[in-house]
Symmetry: C2
Subunit: 363 residues, 2 copies
C-alpha cells in the first residue's frame, strides 16, 4: 500500500519511556523530569470536578465546549464563535493546515522552533521556508520578507520554544503590518502567561488584523497538560474554516470541566507564576556562579548554551535521576533545555550540574 | 483568506446544546438522552484511577500509550507496533486519510453510514464513491466492484451505524478477497462487543489480509466516551504510516489509565452486554406490540422505520424529556434511532411512544 509521497521524508516520532520504566531500568527510586516544560504543581483543587465527571464519563463530551466557550468569550471579550478548541493547542496547528494549505503551497517557519509546525506542514504537503533565528530570537523582519503570494501560513511561537525568547507588542505589530492579508499568521502563545509586560496585546491586534490566529493552552501555566486542551482565538471567518475540519468530540469531558474550573482559580495561577519567576532567577544566579551560559527566558524553562556536546552532561544527570531535554532534534547539539520544577528539584539539578563541572575539571 | 477549495461544500458541524440547557429551556427536571449510543452505566470503578491521575494531571500523557499498548497487544496476541491509538477511534479515520489519500484519489463509502468517513474524506480532497445499503445492510459486493486502481480506502462500519446491521465473517472474508492489495480496507468495529457469534474474527483476517485496518473503541461497551480513546490494529507497515501523521500527545492521561483499568474489569463489560441484549429484546417486543417497524440490531441502539416524517414524534418525546436521534442528516426523514438506556429510561420511552400513537389515532 502506497502512502502519500509527502510522507516519505517524515520520521516517525519515537516516544520516550514512562518515568516509571526509566526508574526501573536505572535502579532509581526518585526521578525528576525537567524535560517537558510541565507545571510542577498538580492542580489538586480539581478533586470535586474529577469526582463529578466520573459519574458521567460514559457520555460524550459537549461538541461545542458550551460552558468553557462562554467563560473564555467573556474573559477575552470576544464573540463565542471566535474560539476554536483543540485536543491541546497543537491540534489547532493541524486544523489550520488542513483548512488553508493545499499540497505545494507555502508555509514559513523559524528554525529552530517548536517542531510540530514543520512536521505537520510536511504531512500536508506544504513547501516549507525556514528562517533562522537571529540571536536566539525570531527574525520577524526576515520572516515577513519570506512571505510571498503563495504563502498560506506563517507560524510564530511567541514566546518561543526551545529558545525561550519572545517578541514584543511593537515588534509583532510591525510584523503584522508587513504580512499580506491573504496569509494567515499563526501566533502560538502557549507560554503567554509567563511572558513580561511588553508582550503583545493579542485582543487589540485581533481587531486590527483579521488574518491573525492566536493559540493558548491549559497545558502550561494552568497545569492541565495531561488532559489535552487548548484553543485559538481568531476572526469568525477563520474559525468557521477550522470548524469544518475539526472532529466534533475532539476535546474530552474532563478537560472541558477542568478548564472551566481552572479559569476560576486565580490563586493557583498566581502561585505558579510567582514560583516560576523566582526559580528562574535562582537558575540564572546559579548558572552565572557556575559560569554556564544561558538565554534569558519568557517561559517556564531555560535554554542552556553548553558550548560543547551535551551527551555527557545529559547522561550524568540522568543517572542521578534528573531528566533534561537535549536538542539534537533541533540541530542544537551544544544546547540543552531545563524546565523550572519544584525548588527541591531545581536545587538537585544545580547540585548535580556543579558536581559534573567539578569532575570535568579534574580530568 | 482563501480556504482550500475542497472545503467549500462542507457544512460546519453545529453542536447540540448540553442536556442541562435543554432542561432549562423546556422547563424539565429530568431528561433521558437516548440519542448518542452511549453506555448507560457510569464506570464508577474508575474512582481510584481518577484520584491517582489527578495527582499528575499537570504532566503530559505518555506519547506511546506504553501500559495500554502492552495490555492490548497481549489481549489481541499481536505485536505492540501493530496498534495505533486515537483521540476516539474516529481520529484513526483522519489519520488513515492523511496517510494514504492525496487530493483527487478515491475513497468508497456506504450510504447512509457513519458520517465522519465522508466528511473527512471530503476535507482530504478525495473523490467519493457512495454505495447504497441493500436491505439496510452494507452491500459488500457492490463496494468491492466499485474499488478501482485509484481507490485508496474503503470504509466499512461493522456493525453499521445508524442501521445497526452487521456483516458476518464469511461475508467479510469473501469481500476482502476481492479487494486489490493496494486498497486499504478500514473496518470500523466501534460496536464490536455487542455483535453476535458469526461476527468477523478480525485477528485471523489481519494475518491473511495485510491491507486491513480494524478499529475498536472504549466509547461504547467500555463506557469511556467522555474520555476519548480508541485504537486501530493493523500491519506494522500501515501502523508506521499512521504514526507519521499522529500528534504525539493525542491520547490524554485519564483515557490511557482508565482504558488499562477497564480492560481488567470483566464484570462491568458483562453487565453492559447482558443488559443491552435484554433491553433490546424489550424494545423489539414493545415495538411489535405497538406495530412499529424496526431493524434488528447488532449494536446498543435500534433503528426505527417510522414510515412517516419523524419530526412530530421527535418533538413529542423531547417535550416529555426523551431525546432520540432523528436521521435527516443521513437522508432518512422517516427513521429515528434510539439507544438502549437504563430500564427505566427505556420504559419511559416506550410509554411516551405509546401515548403518541394513541393521540395520533384520535386525530
Amino acid at each position: 500500500m502506497q502512502t502519500r509521497k509527502q510522507l516519505q521524508g517524515i520520521k516517525v516520532y519515537s516516544p520516550g519511556k514512562p518515568v516509571e520504566e526509566v526508574k526501573r531500568e536505572l535502579g532509581l527510586t526518585q526521578v525528576y523530569k525537567l524535560a517537558s516544560n510541565e507545571n510542577p504543581f498538580p492542580p489538586l483543587f480539581l478533586g470535586p470536578v474529577f469526582r463529578r465527571e466520573l459519574k458521567r464519563v460514559q457520555q460524550y463530551p459537549e461538541a461545542g465546549c458550551f460552558y468553557l466557550r462562554r467563560a473564555l468569550a467573556k474573559k477575552h471579550r470576544i464573540a463565542q464563535e471566535q474560539i476554536v478548541f483543540g485536543n491541546g493547542s497543537d491540534e489547532l496547528i493541524v486544523m489550520a493546515l488542513r483548512a488553508f494549505v493545499s499540497s505545494g503551497e507555502e508555509v514559513v517557519v523559524a528554525q529552530p522552533t517548536f517542531l510540530v509546525y514543520e512536521i505537520q506542514a510536511a504531512v500536508q504537503g506544504a513547501r516549507i521556508t525556514r528562517i533562522p533565528l537571529s540571536g536566539f530570537k525570531y527574525d520577524l523582519e526576515a520572516m515577513s520578507r519570506a512571505a510571498g503570494p503563495r504563502t498560506k501560513i506563517i507560524f510564530v511561537a511567541n514566546p518561543d520554544n526551545p529558545s525561550g525568547t519572545y517578541c514584543t507588542h511593537r515588534e509583532v505589530k510591525k510584523f503584522l503590518k508587513m504580512i499580506p492579508k491573504n496569509t494567515l499568521v499563526f501566533m502560538d502563545e502557549a507560554y503567554f502567561e509567563f511572558a513580561p509586560g511588553d508582550f503583545p496585546k493579542t485582543r487589540e491586534l485581533l481587531k486590527e488584523f483579521p488574518n491573525l490566529l492566536c493559540t493558548r493552552t491549559f497545558s502550561k501555566a494552568y497545569g492541565l497538560a495531561g488532559l489535552r486542551i487548548g484553543y485559538g482565538i481568531m476572526s469568525s471567518r477563520i474559525a468557521a474554516a477550522l470548524q469544518k475540519v475539526r472532529e466534533p468530540f475532539n476535546v474530552n469531558r474532563l478537560a472541558q470541566a477542568a478548564a472551566v474550573e481552572a479559569l476560576k482559580n486565580k490563586e493557583y495561577l498566581k502561585k505558579v507564576l510567582t514560583h516560576t519567576k523566582k526559580e528562574k532567577k535562582y537558575f540564572y544566579r546559579q548558572f552565572e556562579e557556575l559560569g554556564v551560559e544561558f538565554i534569558e527566558s519568557a517561559t517556564n524553562f531555560v535554554l542552556v548554551n553548553w558550548k560543547r556536546d551535551t551527551r555527557k552532561v545529559y547522561d550524568f544527570l540522568l543517572r542521578r535521576g534528573i531528566i533534561v531535554r537535549q536538542l539534537q532534534g533541533w540541530g542544537w547539539n551544544n544546547f540543552f533545555r531545563v524546565t523550572v520544577g519544584l525548588h527541591k528539584e531545581n536545587e538537585k539539578f544545580i547540585r548535580e550540574l556543579r558536581r559534573f563541572l567539578q569532575e570535568e575539571r579534574k580530568k
